[in-house]
Amino acid sequence: MATDNRPLSPHLQVYRWQITSVLSILHRITGVGLAVGAIVFAYWLNAAGYGADAFARAQAVLGTWVGVVLLVGWTFALFYHLLNGIRHLFWDAGMGFELSQVRASGWTVVVGAAVLTAITWAVVWNTAGGAG
């Protein structure tokens, strides 16, 4: 099929960034990031199934500073994808389509994900005494 040389419509970079489009692509980016996190989740559980040493190693790897940085990222990705997913489900039900509502729900999702991430890690550091 000779489809390679067709003229293209203007690409993403000619458009002004808007909260609606940024949050839309962020839903996909966090989804792909969480798929990578799911592989680490599978490693963690399979290490537990393998034995005490393997599980201790997995816990230690996740407790290094690189591991903790990644886990904080996955925590934010999880909360963002979860809250924005609920926003999508409301749209699927036909609710919240006014532009003012879309902007308000979008900012709610961003602030909510940041606050929930901060609370989660505050709890981790207070209960585990700094161990990730």
Partner: protein, 126 residues
């Protein structure tokens, strides 16, 4: 026997009538993952730094094991559905797309099944 051609017979019937199947499965798994995901955050926080003995003790609480198995199954199904859409959007060669979509399914099933077996081994095994 009808004298209609195959094309005439299927015109207007839509595709295989499964066009909403993927969409609906994605929403169903999303709805299920809202409570399961929130619960898992609490679970993961309580398991930070745990050794295998503590993890096993936590998993022998029946509802913890049930929720972990449910979470794992739904999570990898939702992951497979979401990644499928991403691959369909960005891979334009039919051959590569088919190969990647097959691998996507295989990997999701392997990860999900291995996790569930690992959970059962920890909970019931020695």
């Amino acid at each position: 026997m009808s004298l209609q051609t195959d094309l005439a017979r299927v015109r207007g019937l839509g595709s295989a009538k499964e066009g909403t199947g993927h969409w609906w499965a994605q929403r169903l798994t999303a709805v299920a993952l809202v409570p399961l995901g929130i619960w898992f955050v609490f679970a993961a926080v309580s398991l930070a730094g745990a050794d295998l003995g503590e993890f096993r003790a936590w998993l022998t609480v029946p509802y913890n094991l049930i929720l972990m198995v449910l979470l794992t199954g739904v999570l990898f199904h939702h992951m497979q559905l979401g990644m499928q859409v991403v691959f369909e959007d960005y891979i334009h060669s039919e051959r590569s797309k088919t190969v990647v979509l097959i691998l996507n399914r295989f990997i999701a099933v392997i990860l999900g099944v291995s996790c569930i077996i690992a959970l059962l081994r920890v909970a019931f095994g020695g």
